[in-house]
Every structure is written in structure tokens, then in C-alpha cells.
């Protein structure tokens, strides 16, 4: 946990009774008050729709068109930001308050070099020469651990990965040495390891310059690890606030308790299913993609999966964990025969797929299903929920219309969406859509299901619901499953065995207990450290 910096009397940022309204007088924020002391790290926590982003943007008068403050004040160093005119607030922006955004892919202007974007703010607020600005920019890039800052200055944003861009953003903002840094979900779009890198850099920079941080996030794990105090919002209202330790250990409000409950905790290890002959096996499988290089990464053909062998028995739940680029998604798809192999083979029920007959391949196709990662694009927007879930039944011979409708209805009930049949995907939330995707994958009682990061795009409380549902279905229907994720915490409640993957190879494999308690490989250890969710729950129960 971070040390508490000296608290002075006067808060740097003071939000008092803030109301914000959107178009059609929709109340986005309702009577919200909280303070940020100089040098403090305050986490603003809530799920989607809580209004946390708007609260922060109000501090810089950067609310989107149509969204307006409707009462209350936002004091920065005593002055009310909401009543400032454009010129006054422009002096604040960048120099006193800096902001880092969520989507690293669009936060930098693709038409300008990194250098020009870094120096832009500096040249605006301070009276220094271009050369001075450039050298400061280079120094800052080094501090955020960008290799070769000189080349970076001349390069364009599209040449960098998400994690790198986020660090560049941080550099750009911290160059101006603001007193307050607003970080709006800065790491949500990154994978676990990159998240950790970016946050460590952020904490180091802000601590050394005495900058206060308003960290907006829905990830309680990060809150526990980095913040001093926390403010919890639900649907525009303040639910609870206080020092992090107190709120997380002894939450007072129901909603806070629900949020904490949603964190994955170490359940008693599952009794692994008896290991019989494997249902599906990969034998020395490699998958190569043709190269697509940029200036900062290799241009050779990419070996996504490098000679991996594994086997999964009927009824077994195996988790495949790794960072982005580890090859886990590719391996999952290869196991389903959706991606051509450059070497090796897949065996289903003992038969090699390479030399299988058409009928055998068909049987494989029908018995091995996939739950996709993105609930927003895996459902055909033109079909009703019932049509989506029933479609796999087209391939079950001899099913009457009544039986078909009946099975669809049952399946929808099982996933908790009874009565949703006639609705369309766009009317459902992310969590509900994912349940539809699961229903579709399970309705034919497949022997094997691959779930490709099925909950990464969802809020934490919803993640818990969907994971629980999946686990229940797996136990009831007894299908073998490969659960792919970058979050060790999420898989710990699901799996019999965990496989850790890095750069196309499986680096470690073992039972849940083995991996979580006695990790051997460095990469596994790094992943564990970067999964703050587990860390705090362990501390909670200590």
C-alpha cells in the first residue's frame, strides 16, 4: 500500500454538490461532493453509467456537447472552475490540471509526430525555446521507459502499441508538471502486464513531482494497490467515501459491498475430474501469420503459436492465461480448427483431424463451440435473441418446430434470460448479450467449448455473474472447456488446471493451487503480481 503523504488543510480539488445533466434533462450526476488533497491519490470508482467520467471532465470544463453542469461548484485551489470563462480555464488546462484518457489508440493525433504533440503544450504554457522543449520531452520519454526517445520524437502514433502510447500520453501530460492529474480509466484498454507498467510509471512520476491524482476506474484491484482514498459512485450518486483501507475492509453501503463481493476470491480448489483419455489434444501445433512490420516491431512472419502440445479430458475446465500477443487466442481458435496450422495436428476423440473424413470433421465442428470475446459484434444485429440461440439447432436432425422452440426457451431460462426471446441484441446490455452467446454455444450440448476472454469487456459485478453462470453450466452439462483470459484472478474460480502462455509457448502448467501458490516461471510470477484483484482479497481475509 502507498504511504500517506502529508495532508494540508486546503484541498486542491473540491467538488461540492455537483449536478450534471445530459440531453433531455437526464441526470448524470446528482449532488456529488468529494475532495482531493495535494499529492493524494484519490480513486473515483463506479461501473458504467455511474457518472464518474463526467464528474472529472467537469473539472476542466471539457464536458461533451449537450452535457452541462446544473448546480454546485468545482473548486480548484479555491477558484470555481464552473464559473470561469474560456480564457481563464485555458490557463488551467494542461498547466494546473492534466488529463490522461482511456483509449490509447485515438488519444494521439495520427497526423502529427510524437515530438510535436509533446512540445505543443510546453510551448503554449511556458516561455522556452523549441530546442529546450524538445530536450525536456526526450528526458520525459526516458522516464516513462520508452527506448530510443530521439527516434520516438520523430515517429508517428500509429507506430506504437497501446501500452506505449499510454505512457507517451503520460509523458505529454506530466511535462507540464500539473498539480492535479486526472486519469480516466488509463489502463482499461490494456492487458494486465501493460496495466501494471503504466500505473507504476504514473505513480512514480506523480509522487516525485507532488502531483495529486484523481484515478477513475472500475477496477477495485487497482484502487487497493495504488490509491489513498476512494469515492464510490452509483448511477450519479455518491455512495460512500473514505480511506481505501477502511472502505475495502469494512464497507458500509450495500453497493460497495456488492462491488467488493464481485472481486474474485480464492475458492476452495475444485476437485479435478478424473483424467481419462483426452477428448481433444494438440500435438506440436504451430501457427504462423505472414509478417506485418512497423518501425518499432519486427517485420518477420509472426510465429503466433510455437510447437504447443496439450490435452483436455472430457468434463475438464482448463484455463489458458497470458498477456496480449502471447498467442492464447490463436491457440484457442486452432483447437477448434478455425485457423490453419503450419505444423502439428489436432486430435479429437483420438482421431487426427489432418486425415479425418468429411463426416468426422463435421462431427468435430458440431461438437466444439466458441464463445467470443466481444458481446457487441458476435451477435447478428438483425436476428432476435430466440433466432440466435435456436440457430445451432438447424443441424440437429429430426427436431420438430415445437421441440425446437421448447429447447430454445429452456436454454434462455437457464441463462437467466427467460422471456427475452423476441428482443434484439441492441436492446440488451453487454452482460446479457454475453449470456446469449453462451446459450448459443451450449444449446446443442457440445463436448467442448472454448471461451475467448468472454468477460473482459464487462463491468466487474457483471463479470462475476457471467462467470458464475458459465461455471454452473459447465458443471451441469459437463462439457470440457478451455477458458482463455489475461486475468489470473478471473480464472481461478473456474478452472481445474491453469496453463500459462507467453510468446507462443506454454511456459507453465499445473493445478490452480500449484500456479497461484507456487509459481515457478518468471512470467507466471509477473502475471500474478499484476493481478491485483487476488492480492487484495487475500489481504482482506488476512
Amino acid at each position: 500500500m502507498s504511504d500517506k503523504p502529508a495532508m494540508s488543510d486546503k484541498p486542491l480539488l473540491s467538488v461540492r454538490n455537483l449536478n450534471i445533466e445530459g440531453p433531455n434533462r437526464l441526470r448524470i450526476l446528482n449532488d456529488v461532493s468529494f475532495d482531493v488533497a495535494p499529492g493524494e491519490i484519490v480513486a473515483l470508482v463506479g461501473e458504467s453509467g455511474s457518472g464518474k467520467t463526467m464528474a472529472a471532465r467537469a473539472a476542466m470544463q471539457l464536458l461533451p456537447a449537450g452535457v452541462l453542469p446544473a448546480g454546485g461548484e468545482v473548486l480548484v485551489d479555491g477558484a470555481d472552475v464552473l464559473s470561469m470563462n474560456e480564457d481563464q480555464i485555458r490557463k488551467l488546462r494542461g498547466a494546473k490540471i492534466g488529463m490522461v484518457f482511456q483509449e490509447p489508440m485515438v488519444s494521439l493525433n495520427p497526423a502529427h509526430t510524437i515530438g510535436s504533440q509533446l512540445t505543443e503544450g510546453l510551448l503554449l504554457h511556458e516561455n522556452i525555446s523549441r530546442d529546450e522543449a524538445r530536450s525536456r520531452a526526450e528526458t520525459m520519454l526516458e522516464r516513462v521507459q520508452i527506448m530510443d526517445p530521439r527516434a520516438c520524437i520523430k515517429a508517428y502514433p500509429h507506430q506504437f502499441s497501446g501500452g506505449m502510447r499510454q505512457r507517451i500520453m503520460l509523458a505529454s501530460v506530466m511535462l507540464l508538471k500539473p498539480k492535479l492529474l486526472i486519469a480516466d480509466e488509463p489502463t482499461t484498454a490494456l492487458d494486465t502486464l501493460s496495466q501494471r507498467e503504466v500505473l507504476e510509471v504514473m505513480v512514480e512520476l506523480t509522487r516525485s513531482s507532488g502531483t495529486a491524482v484523481l484515478l477513475i476506474t472500475h477496477n477495485l484491484g487497482l484502487v487497493a494497490q495504488y490509491a489513498n482514498s476512494v469515492v464510490v459512485l452509483e448511477r450519479g450518486r455518491l455512495v460512500e467515501t473514505g480511506p481505501v483501507e477502511r472502505v475495502l475492509r469494512r464497507p458500509e453501503q450495500t453497493y460497495t459491498k456488492a462491488l467488493i463481493n464481485a472481486l474474485p476470491r480464492r475458492e476452495p480448489d475444485r476437485v479435478p475430474a478424473a483424467r481419462t483419455s483426452p477428448l481433444i489434444a494438440a500435438e506440436n501445433v504451430s501457427v504462423t501469420f505472414p509478417g506485418a512490420g512497423t518501425a518499432f516491431s519486427s517485420a518477420e512472419p509472426k510465429l503466433a503459436v510455437d510447437g504447443v502440445s496439450l490435452s483436455i479430458c472430457p468434463g475438464e475446465a482448463v484455463a489458458l492465461v497470458g498477456g496480449s500477443g502471447s498467442g492464447k487466442t490463436t491457440l484457442g481458435r486452432a483447437l477448434l480448427g478455425l485457423v490453419p496450422l503450419s505444423s502439428g495436428d489436432i486430435r479429437f476423440r483420438g482421431k487426427a483431424m489432418h486425415s479425418a473424413t468429411k463426416a468426422e470433421k463435421r462431427e468435430f465442428r458440431l461438437s466444439a463451440q466458441l464463445v467470443f470475446q466481444d458481446p457487441y459484434s458476435s451477435l447478428d444485429p438483425r436476428q432476435t435473441i430466440a433466432e440466435i440461440v435456436a440457430e445451432p439447432l438447424d443441424h440437429v436432425p429430426g427436431l420438430s418446430r415445437a421441440e425446437r422452440a421448447g429447447r430454445t426457451r429452456e436454454m434462455l431460462e437457464e441463462v437467466g434470460l427467460g422471456g427475452f426471446g423476441k428482443r434484439y441484441p441492441h436492446a440488451l446490455s453487454g452482460g446479457q448479450r454475453q449470456r446469449v452467446a453462451i446459450a448459443r454455444a451450449v444449446i446443442r450440448n457440445p463436448a467442448f467449448v472454448v471461451a475467448d476472454e468472454p468477460v473482459s469487456a464487462l463491468d466487474m459485478t457483471i463479470q462475476k455473474q457471467v462467470l458464475d453462470l458459465f461455471r454452473k453450466l459447465q458443471e451441469q452439462h459437463g462439457f470440457a472447456c478451455l477458458f482463455i483470459s489475461h486475468d489470473l484472478g478471473a480464472v481461478s474460480r473456474m478452472a481445474d488446471r491453469i496453463m500459462v502462455m507467453n510468446r507462443g509457448k506454454v511456459v507453465e502448467e499445473g493445478s490452480v493451487g500449484d500456479i497461484l501458490d507456487r509459481p515457478q516461471h518468471d512470467y507466471t510470477k509477473a502475471l500474478l503480481e499484476a493481478a491485483p484483484t487476488l492480492a487484495i482479497t487475500e489481504k482482506m481475509s488476512a
Partner: protein, 271 residues
């Protein structure tokens, strides 16, 4: 959002007026649009002839109405032609890809290399000025545009996860294409067809204005404007009405097209 509905309603209204005039003209016009009356030449608008008479004494209003019917029929047929062939070829090219796709695209690009109505002009030279000739000429000229849009839609729809999901479930490629890919291409197609309708009306009246379209004495807005030219100083009304009708139609098409485009905006569909 409100503004879009106004756009849509206004557009539909304008088109409705034009369409209504056209429809009525099939059954009834105030006067016979072809009837020549040398005594009543170049009369200004009055209670007897609401829009006046032309240089042959023919009633302008009746000719406008019949012209509306002519223009609309030609335009609708042209759009139908282009949409039909463009969709079939575009679906095929986008789904099959490979050599066939490349060949089709090169041919399509070559056709598109003829700007505006140039290709249609060229084809008109072959078929001569007649109604069906125009439909075929303009139809061929606009098919590549439809082809491109449909092909692009198919290419992007193929990458969507729900298309992959359809294969994972076990559907054949054909079923996947017709059940999942095609219906999701209709949105841009509808928007394009609407705009195209406007372009065709404009192109057809342009061709007629030049004397290369539907031949007189059949009235189209284009050739009415052409014959109004020499009499412009004395008889302003002759040039006013047909041009106004074309403008009204174009405006209606543009407004309606805007409303449709925004309604089908995928961003507004989910979340």
C-alpha cells in the same frame, strides 16, 4: 434526432408531391400535353393555364405532370437495373474473392473511369435517343457504384464475429452469406439507391437538355428547359417550372437520403 425526422418528413413530402403529380398524370391532366394550339402560344400563367403555355400553345402544367411521370419511370427503372446487377455482381465478388474478384474490380474501375454521364453519352450514341436506351445507358453507368458499395459491405461483414459465429455453429458458406452477410448490407444499399435516384433524375434531364435524351415531342423536364432557352426573355415562366421541379426532386432526395443515412448509422444501433 429531431432534425433528422424533419429532414425525412420534408424529403418524403417533396418526393410525394412530385410522385403524386406523376401518378395523377397517368389518368388525368388539365389539358392534353401534346395538343398544339397556335392561337395560345406563349401565354403567361393565368387561371385557364396555371403555368402558362409554351411556344406551341401546349399547356405547361400538363407537360410538367407528364414529364414527371416520364422522369420518374426512367429513373426508377435505371436504379432498379443498377441495383439488381450491382448487388448480384458485388455479392459474388465480395464473397468469392480471388481472381474473379480482381477481374471484376478492374472492369468496374474502368467503367468508373468515365466521369459523370460520359459513359452514358457514349452508349447513347450507339442506341440512339429513346427511353429504353437511356435506361440501359444510365443503368450500365451506375452499376459499378452499386457494385463497389455492395462488395465493400460484404467484405466488412465477412470480418464480423457473428459471421464467424455462423460458421462455428456449422452453417455452410452459402447459408452464412445469405442469412447473415446479405441482410446487413441492405443499409448502405438503401442510402445509395436513394442518392442514385437523384443523380439519375439529374442525368436524364441533363441528357434531354442536350437533346440526347428522350426525344420530343414527349415532354421531359430536360427538353422543356432546352426549348425554353430561346424564349427566356419574353416567357420567363417557361424556364422556371421545369427547373423548379428538378430542384424539388433533388432536394427531396437529398433530405430523405440524409435522414436514411443517419437512421442506419451503426453507431446508433448498438449500446
Amino acid at each position: 434526432m429531431k432534425r433528422l425526422r424533419i429532414n425525412g418528413i420534408l424529403g418524403a413530402l417533396l418526393l410525394g408531391i412530385v410522385g403524386g403529380l406523376a401518378l395523377i398524370s397517368v389518368f388525368w391532366t388539365p389539358y392534353d400535353p401534346m395538343k398544339v394550339s397556335l392561337r395560345e402560344r406563349l401565354n403567361p400563367p393565368s387561371l385557364i393555364h396555371w403555368l402558362g403555355t409554351d411556344e406551341f400553345g401546349r399547356d405547361v402544367l400538363s407537360r410538367i405532370m407528364t414529364g414527371a411521370a416520364e422522369s420518374l419511370v426512367v429513373s426508377i427503372c435505371t436504379v432498379a437495373f443498377a441495383v439488381l446487377f450491382g448487388t448480384l455482381i458485388g455479392l459474388f465478388a465480395g464473397y468469392v474473392r480471388g481472381l474473379a474478384d480482381r477481374l471484376l474490380m478492374v472492369v468496374s474501375d474502368a467503367l468508373l473511369a468515365f466521369p459523370g454521364t460520359l459513359l452514358a453519352l457514349g452508349i447513347m450514341v450507339i442506341v440512339g435517343p429513346n427511353k429504353y436506351g437511356i435506361i440501359v445507358a444510365l443503368g450500365i453507368a451506375y452499376t459499378p457504384s452499386v457494385l463497389r458499395i455492395v462488395r465493400a459491405s460484404v467484405l466488412s461483414a465477412r470480418e464480423r464475429e457473428y459471421v464467424e459465429a455462423s460458421r462455428v455453429i456449422g452453417n455452410s458458406e452459402l447459408v452464412t452469406m445469405f442469412r447473415h452477410v446479405l441482410p446487413n448490407c441492405t443499409a448502405p444499399l438503401v442510402v445509395l439507391a436513394t442518392s442514385m435516384f437523384g443523380w439519375v433524375v439529374l442525368a436524364e434531364s441533363g441528357l434531354s437538355f442536350l437533346g440526347l435524351g428522350v426525344p420530343p415531342p414527349a415532354p421531359t423536364w430536360g427538353n422543356m428547359l432546352a426549348s425554353a432557352r430561346p424564349h427566356m426573355e419574353r416567357a420567363i415562366w417557361l424556364g422556371f417550372a421545369p427547373g423548379l421541379c428538378i430542384a424539388m426532386t433533388m432536394l427531396g432526395v437529398n433530405l430523405l437520403g440524409d435522414a436514411l443515412r443517419d437512421r442506419f448509422d451503426p453507431r446508433m444501433e448498438d449500446r
